[in-house]
Symmetry: C2
Subunit: 309 residues, 2 copies
């Protein structure tokens, strides 16, 4: 799957993944009203608003980007209808030819991790029948429980052509509290030790461009650390959050890419999906053109990233 | 909420939490057939079987135990109907007067963690309307992203009388790969550093028994480490997985309790909910008495735990 992601990035000339992390406060009134008319101001209404919003954004940007990254928390918050909207969003993105990275950050012991793996990137069995449930292409995972919490995904990755991104160094300002602790016999930062494990876990999953299906989440908000990780993890593809709304610039994340300008895909969520609320786009687009503001934000991000690559 | 948990443990004289982690292979045929008749061999059928199974177990054991711990992965695997069964299971357990620990092990940056916190232990807002979605009393959380991923839960804990258990030392055999790394200026095992943070995060949440609403997950499969953590985290209540099917004995987890026999609650999942499949109970109970086998397994576990307390 990593080869397909790399090829799609190159076809679009755009290492951008759009984060589909909707909140009601980002959704134009007309969309919300449409949803509430059907379902009331209820979790069902919120979920419908999310789906309608995502659909219009996907229609407006799908030809410019390789991938989307829905954040399951936003949907999970609204329970059953929320999760239904998450699944419908994934299906619609795939219909549009996009690669889908499910931002689920799951972690559990092996027998339980297997259930997540089967639901998200494999098949859920019912007495010999098999059901594809979520159908993400990649999912994000948390490494705190060690390789036993990651291995259960490996077979599905092979069988169904899927990938994972393991949290190595996250984008939040205080990620260092645990991740930067100097650890192990060589007193290396913990995120570097975890990165080394990720590189090792990926050794059976390398594709034709040298990168593996076992990627790493490396926040753009820590430029020096991203650069260092790029050097020591030559076969590990990076999913890079933190650009835009979280404060990182294109220059900050240059170091996450290799010399060929490959090796990373950069996420922006609010900066794109809520572009219509930003002064810059609000003055250029009419209220009913809000999805076009997202399209322009993608074009601007593409240009910005390409200026440093 | 921790005070209520402690009081309920003492009322039952039983520091046992029953893990509601159903798999189809554990569910008696009659229950499965009942579910498939309604919904076919589908995710809806699997979810219905989970709920019917949980309900019979809850009816059989609710008066013996303080709490249950549904593992969301098992339900999430089956998508929308699975999540509906998770929510219905929680509601039924609460109706029976049980405290519910949602084993979700979520982790994310602050703005996203807030969505999990509101959905699981707070309220999900829709234009001023507020909805309680999952209604667990406690949830488990993964600490890899640091305090910023935990803090978003604090306000809901105060406002809605809830608690959390943060992964410190997990029960899987290879948990040490990351958690046992010697780290920080004093070269302490990482789990001990995380434990220290958990103790600190709980300082504003202490109840009348000295324990706080910010608990720790400490696997029974690592007895020496559990004992050490009990000593250095005097105000942190432990959720202890690993008893029974994962191999830990009552003697192994004695060290997780304090001198008064408080300070921990021990989980058993398969050992109780799939008791009817074990030789010991299969010979004592008829096939249609399978839920009574679970009841007997709870009584046996209670006796076993009390023998070391």
């Amino acid at each position: 799957m990593i080869d397909q992601l790399i090829e799609k990035i190159e076809a679009c000339q755009n290492p951008t993944v759009v984060g589909l992390d909707p909140r009601l406060s980002m959704i134009p009134e007309a969309i919300r009203e449409e949803a509430y008319e059907k379902y009331g101001k209820t979790p069902e209404g919120a979920a419908e608003a999310f789906y309608l919003f995502n659909k219009e954004i996907l229609d407006a940007v799908y030809d410019l980007i390789p991938a989307v990254k829905p954040q399951v928390a936003m949907y999970e918050m609204y329970g059953v209808p929320g999760l239904a909207a998450y699944i419908k969003t994934i299906a619609y993105a795939r219909e549009k030819g996009l690669i889908v990275i499910g931002d689920i950050k799951r972690s559990d012991i092996a027998s339980t991790a297997q259930a997540y793996a089967d639901g998200h990137i494999g098949v859920a069995p019912v007495e010999g029948e098999k059901y594809e449930i979520y159908q993400e292409d990649f999912v994000t995972l948390n490494p705190y429980l060690g390789v036993e919490s990651i291995e259960p995904y490996f077979k599905n990755m092979k069988d169904y052509n899927k990938g994972i991104f393991v949290l190595v160094k996250t984008s939040n300002p205080g990620s260092g509290q645990i991740q930067d602790l100097l650890a192990g016999p060589e007193d290396k930062p913990l995120y570097e030790i975890v990165g080394g494990l990720v590189e090792e876990w990926g050794s059976d999953f390398r594709g034709q461009y040298g990168y593996s299906d076992v990627g790493a989440v490396v926040g753009a908000t820590h430029p020096e650390q991203g650069k260092r990780l790029r050097e020591v993890l030559p076969h590990t593809f990076f999913l890079v959050p933190g650009y835009g709304a979280q404060g990182a610039t294109a220059q900050d994340l240059r170091g996450c890419f290799d010399k060929e300008g490959r090796g990373a895909i950069v996420n922006s969520s609010r900066g794109i999906i809520a572009a219509w609320q930003k002064e810059k786009y609000a003055s250029a687009f009419r209220a009913d053109q809000w999805a076009q503001a997202s399209r322009q934000a993608v074009l601007d991000m593409k240009e910005d990233l390409n200026s440093v690559l």
